[in-house]
């Protein structure tokens, strides 16, 4: 049952450009995948490590800026990809060392300050970032000779990266390291007493999270062929956090659902609902107040309750099961 659902989902995803019709929707789907990767990465910190950050857009942006700079200085796609990831990891390491000095709200505040500094640099260090006008790249790179210029081509490439990210997350969650990260979240003192280096566990989780944020940032650059300070702004970090929280922290499906929700609101609903910003805020508030565990676990809970009321002995199998909650 579970496998069949997974197979159908994969098939639908892989054939999406054929049945969705207009290339605009293919592009929207690509954006959803990119933000899903970002949200999955962010979820490592928010969900599994219990560390809420409002500065992650900086890591997303560093990859995009580094990628753009490398592409514009004529480097090939492999160097671009490696360089962008290394730059992201380096910045993530700095962020981690500083932010991990605080916990709880202290951690949040430090990430806000770091994010704002990164934004200030993107916005004002004009020789590096071209300030407000941002950096454009003329063409998408063609990794291994495959052109990414068409909408479906980029979609498929993004889908591959997305699937790798999902698998990496699933492995990560099930791994001993994932378990120790959840341990450090729930029982830091006990973990320390047991001989674990809680700081190191969190530091590595930060790097892992930052890495996937950077991957998403690089894909964002390929997709938009453009990066500007808004990518790094506090509101971008807040939006990513919204995806994770709305979908459900500490689950695999949650951040993906959250990314889809936010992109649908921003890109599709905004054409029909004039006050989409208000609606987005309202949805956010409603989810936090009435479904604090997030959309995916919340819906699962509701379905279970409904099914349990009808057929007490047939709980519905779901993909989100491997959550550590």
């Amino acid at each position: 049952m579970n496998r069949a659902a997974l197979a159908i989902a994969l098939l639908l995803l892989a054939t999406l450009p054929f049945w969705i019709g207009n290339s605009f929707y293919v592009n929207v789907a690509t954006q959803m995948l990119i933000y899903a990767i970002f949200a999955l990465g962010l979820n490592v910190l928010v969900g599994y490590a219990g560390l809420v950050t409002l500065g992650h857009a900086a890591l997303f942006g560093v990859a995009a800026y580094a990628g753009a700079t490398l592409i514009n200085s004529g480097h090939g796609h492999i160097i671009v990809a490696i360089g962008a990831c290394l730059a992201t990891l380096a910045v993530a390491a700095i962020f981690a060392v500083l932010a991990l000095r605080g916990t709880g709200l202290g951690f949040v505040m430090i990430t806000v300050a770091l994010g704002q500094i990164a934004w200030g640099i993107a916005y004002r260090w004009i020789s590096l970032t071209n300030g407000d006008n941002g950096v454009s790249i003329n063409a998408r790179p063609a990794p291994f000779g495959l052109s990414l210029e068409s909408a479906p081509a980029l979609y498929w490439a993004t889908l591959v990266v997305f699937l790798v990210a999902v698998v990496a997350m699933a492995i990560f969650v099930a791994s001993p390291f994932g378990a120790s990260l959840r341990g450090a979240r729930d029982q830091p003192r006990r973990m320390t007493a047991l001989g674990y280096n809680v700081w190191l566990i969190r530091f590595l989780a930060f790097l892992f999270s930052g890495f996937w944020s950077g991957v998403a940032g690089l894909l964002y650059l390929y997709y938009n062929q453009f990066v500007s300070p808004q990518t790094v702004a506090l509101s971008a970090s807040a939006e990513a956090l919204l995806m994770v929280i709305a979908g459900g922290t500490g689950t695999l499906l949650g951040p993906i659902a959250g990314a889809i929700l936010v992109i649908v609101m921003k890109d599709i609903a905004s054409a029909y609902i004039e006050r989409w910003n208000f609606v987005l805020g309202a949805i956010f508030v409603l989810i936090v107040v009435f479904m604090p565990e997030g959309l995916v676990p919340g819906v699962v809970r509701l379905c279970r309750r409904v099914i349990a009321a009808r057929r007490p002995r047939a709980p519905m199998p779901v993909l989100g099961e491997e959550s550590g909650e």
Binding site: V52, L98, R101, G102, G104, L105, G106, V108, M109, I110, V112, A113, L114, Q116, I117, W119, G120, I121, Y123, R124, W125, L234, S235, A238, L241, L242, I245, R275, N277, F278, L280, G281, A282, I283, F284, V285, V288, V289, P292
Partner: protein, 286 residues
Amino acid sequence: MNLWLILSINSVTLGGLLFLLSAGFSLIFGLMRIPNLTHGSMFMLGAYFGVTLIGWGFGFWLAALMAGLGVALFGGIVERFVLRRLVGNELAQVLVTLGLSFMVADVCLMQWGGDPISVDTPAGLVGSSKVFGMAFPTYRLAIIFIAVAIAAALWGMLDRTRLGAMIRAAVDDPAMARVVGIRVSHLFTFVFCLGAGLAGFAGVIGGPILSVYPGLDQDMLPLALVVVILGGSGSLLGSLVGSFVVGLLYNFGQAMFPELAYVVLFLPMLIVLVLRPRGLFGRAAP
């Protein structure tokens, strides 16, 4: 060295405005342990309320007071019906305030339109006065007095009244405050209203300098955040000192290092967070 003198005096006046903005932010942060991300929205909402009230024919000062009360009422509703449901989950509370700030911004845009609205300087404070032999806007000097008066009133309330003692107790140790019979949840409502009301009042007071426009909320929130992080949450003295420090950083940073204006603002915040997480005057580590 006129420039230095002007910058110094202006640092103080900007500090005064920042104090009005951030005193409530600091109290809320200290008591409820949440950075209230709607605080910028409260400031903007107050400013818009003030504009409407002045348009109805109320005087500036009356409009400022009424706008403050209106925003306090709004704050009370937010606290009572939204934040109260999430007691104990600070993270959820922060996120809710973030969502609410989106909503307030959009409602203001809907209600008051996108055009900037200017607020006239109250009669009697128009023009400039001589300070150390230099012309300086009278209204800005008045703001210093307002800030000092509010600071004194708040200090009296916190230090000399039973209510203030309860708030201080709850800031220091909420669990113990509950044990000795203080209704901490009532304090939350009160402090949230007070903080929101002060921000709303500040919005009108700031109007003649800043004018009112969409995005004012996002312009002010980071400044309040820096003030409170520097000064330490829950400390009145902290927000007073923090306000003046930020006023100085802002004025001299903009004039001396325009390229690094943002770094000059946020780097001290980062340093304080990393080296002294409770801020310069904070009571307890968060």
